[in-house]
């Protein structure tokens, strides 16, 4: 049997995960705006309505709080809904259902019912969509006990993490990146699940640890490439899930390199980078040779103008500068 692996896009990888899990388990159904006949705003659900029918691929009215809550209820009854919120920006409308219901129902009722649901949504900036359509709200979801939060950076992870999420008995938030849907790479087969809470080293190095997820992994890798040209070997680590978090792998790396930079597309205040830096300070204080660097989006609503937007989101040069700062070195001009 051929074991040749064909590269697919991040978008196709998600589609494969949905399709395989729907074939595997009758209780899995999809719900969201324009996911059926329109095949998704980003065409992630292409072909699924034709294959599975309207019972399992459900176009909804524009009513995020309502259908997200509906899926919480359906999950309480034992179904496995996979909600697509068109973009993370619209999840704010559904936040009460996610935070007050989905994340708490197992706990506050003493474990009487599970909420086995997935909420997928893409986010991130970079397409000049301005202030209301460019959010990276990872920190808001990762803040909430009871949720699990995945942030896939590759097609393989997008597929493997989503399959794990669908089979998981807790509510799982899957934060996809609008900027990665066209990214190609190999993917695993039907049985390839990626466990939650397992970070992966994307590039080994000895001089400084760069922690990044989702699209920021690629920004970090580009930075690492530039650093290598200057004789600095950065290690890039992708936690892949914020909740649960594989702090062991991160800390092991930082203890080895004695330096760390955290890259996060969200805002700096009370954000993911701040939180990961705090964990690393707590676990690696005695090993650190420099303050931990943070690279975030600027502390502003996302502007429209292309030059402003690019200035607001993390670029490889920002990461290079942050790593050099941990080495007390200037970036050569």
């Amino acid at each position: 049997m051929s074991t040749e692996v064909k590269d697919v896009t991040y978008r196709e990888a998600i589609n494969q995960a949905l399709r395989e899990e729907m074939i595997r388990d009758e209780s899995v159904f999809l719900m969201g705006e324009d996911i059926g006949h329109f095949e998704g705003a980003f065409k992630v659900t292409k072909g699924l309505l034709a294959e599975f029918g309207e019972k399992r691929v459900v176009d909804t009215p524009i009513t995020e709080a309502g259908f997200t809550g509906l899926c919480v209820g359906a999950a309480m009854a034992g179904l496995r809904p996979v909600v697509e919120i068109m973009t993370v920006n619209f999840a704010l409308v559904a936040m009460d259902q996610i935070v007050s219901n989905a994340s708490k129902i197992h706990y506050m009722f003493g474990g009487q019912v599970d909420v086995p649901m997935v909420i997928r949504m893409p986010g991130g900036a970079g397409h000049q969509l301005s202030a209301q359509h460019s959010h990276s709200l990872d920190a808001m979801f990762a803040h909430v006990p009871g949720l699990k939060v995945c942030v896939p950076s590759t097609p393989e992870d997008a597929k493997g993490l989503l399959k794990t999420a669908i089979r998981d008995d807790d509510p799982v938030i899957v934060l996809e990146s609008e900027g990665l849907y066209g990214k190609k790479g190999p993917v695993g087969g039907e049985d390839h699940l990626i466990p939650f809470g397992q970070a992966v080293v994307r590039r080994p190095g000895r001089d400084c640890t760069i922690v990044a997820t989702s699209r920021m992994v690629w920004v970090a890798l580009a930075a690492a490439e530039q650093l290598a040209a200057q004789g600095v070997e950065a290690e890039v680590i992708d936690p892949r899930t914020y909740r649960p978090l594989d702090l062991d792998t991160l800390a092991e790396s930082v203890r080895r390199t004695s330096r760390a930079v955290v890259v996060d597309e969200g805002w700096p205040e009370c954000g993911i980078a701040a939180n990961l830096a705090a964990h690393l300070y707590e676990s690696c204080f005695d090993w650190l040779d420099a303050p931990i660097g943070r690279v975030n989006s600027a502390d502003v609503p996302m502007p429209y103008a292309k030059n402003l937007e690019q200035a607001a989101i993390p670029q490889p040069a920002d990461v290079v500068a942050a790593v050099m700062a941990t080495l007390a070195r200037e970036v050569p001009r």
């Binding site: 009215p61 309502g66 919480v72 309480m76 179904l79 003493g110 009487q112 702090l247």
Partner: protein
């Protein structure tokens, strides 16, 4: 309001309805005492005065019809048959509580009896009920999802979203708007553009009507018809019950806003007293029978209270139990976030 005379249930069932209403009344009066004694913390929302709405509804349903409610839900659990001991223990925050002390008064659930819980965000549980209806249709069961919420919740946007989806998809759900005329201290006329709430559901092609929520048989008849529509014709329905709660919004509300005269007027139509009159008039129970039943209910409430008071506290070591379906790192006082 519906004008057709409600059908009379068999005598045994009439007595059972009366007993359950009495149990809810006595249980909640005792809960108020426990609260005043400092043994119940947080919020305690009493449904005293609303017993007909609760028991009339539950008695019209099948035991496996999923029921959801607001934070004013002790009565729903009792009517569904949850052990009063487990409810009182939950109110006292004990290990033996129905939710092991994690929920308290506002978050009772008894999934074994298809009571899917009390929720604290006004209007927030209505989508869950829609999801339970969705699951019933997905699995092709005969279940009807019934959700009780107040007229205050009807002003929340998500409730209109649910009316729309229920009407659009013909889901087997009954929306029950318990109009007790006040959202906390704000009367309907200061909160709603139109006094009646059932026409809002009608606007989404949902069969809707209003009945007297102080008359248990009228409520029961309305819910029977609503559940029939949902079960047999696979159409959603909405029933508005006009009722009144005798106490303030919660035990921490001194209830100074509502006029004493108004309260007396509603208490004159007390659902327990009026239903007792019906039972006596029909010869279904006699005065001795009423006294015996009340004594029996008091014994049950005494026993539940003693049980709760004597129950162990929840071990602090178990603080982080139930955050996730499978424990990840549920260390006491620890974060469930970080891999051990």
């Amino acid at each position: 309001m519906s004008t057709s005379p409600p059908p009379i249930p068999p005598p045994e069932e009439m007595r059972e309805i009366f007993r359950t209403m009495t149990l809810i009344r006595r249980f909640e009066e005792r809960a108020a005492e426990e609260y005043m004694a400092g043994r119940i913390g947080g919020f305690l929302h009493l449904a005293i005065g609303e017993e007909a709405a609760i028991v009339g509804t539950v008695s019209a349903l099948r035991p496996d019809d999923p029921l959801t409610s607001t934070y004013r839900e002790h009565g729903q659990a009792l009517a569904r048959g949850t052990d009063p001991r487990a409810i009182m223990a939950e109110l006292l925050g004990r290990e033996t509580g129905i939710c092991r002390g994690r929920g308290g008064s506002m978050h009772l659930m008894d999934v074994q009896r298809a009571f899917y819980g009390g929720y604290g965000i006004v209007g927030g549980a209505v989508p869950l009920a829609l999801g339970l209806a969705w699951a019933a249709r997905y699995r092709e069961t005969e279940q009807v999802s019934v959700t009780m919420f107040g007229e205050g919740a009807a002003n929340q946007g998500v409730v209109s979203e649910c009316f729309n989806m229920a009407g659009l998809w013909d889901l087997p759900i009954v929306f029950l708007i318990l109009n007790n005329q006040y959202g906390m201290g704000t009367p309907v006329e200061r909160a709603a553009a139109v006094d009646d709430f059932f026409p809002r559901a009608a606007a989404y092609d949902i069969e809707s009507w209003k009945v007297d929520g102080m008359d248990v048989l009228a409520v029961r008849a309305a819910l029977s018809e609503a559940a029939r529509l949902a079960r047999e014709e696979r159409r959603p329905a909405c029933v508005e019950l006009l009722a009144y709660r005798y106490r303030g919004h919660s035990m921490s509300d001194p209830d100074t806003v509502r006029a004493a005269e108004e309260k007396e007027r509603w208490k004159a139509r007390d659902p327990l007293i009026t239903f007792e009159r019906v039972l006596l008039g029909e010869g279904i129970i006699d005065a001795e029978g009423v006294a015996a039943m009340q004594a029996e209910v008091d014994t049950v409430v005494d026993d539940a209270t003693a049980f709760a008071q004597g129950s162990p506290e929840v071990p602090v070591a178990d603080l982080a139990d139930y955050v996730y379906a499978e424990p990840w790192n549920d260390a006491a006082n620890g974060s469930a976030l970080v891999r051990p």
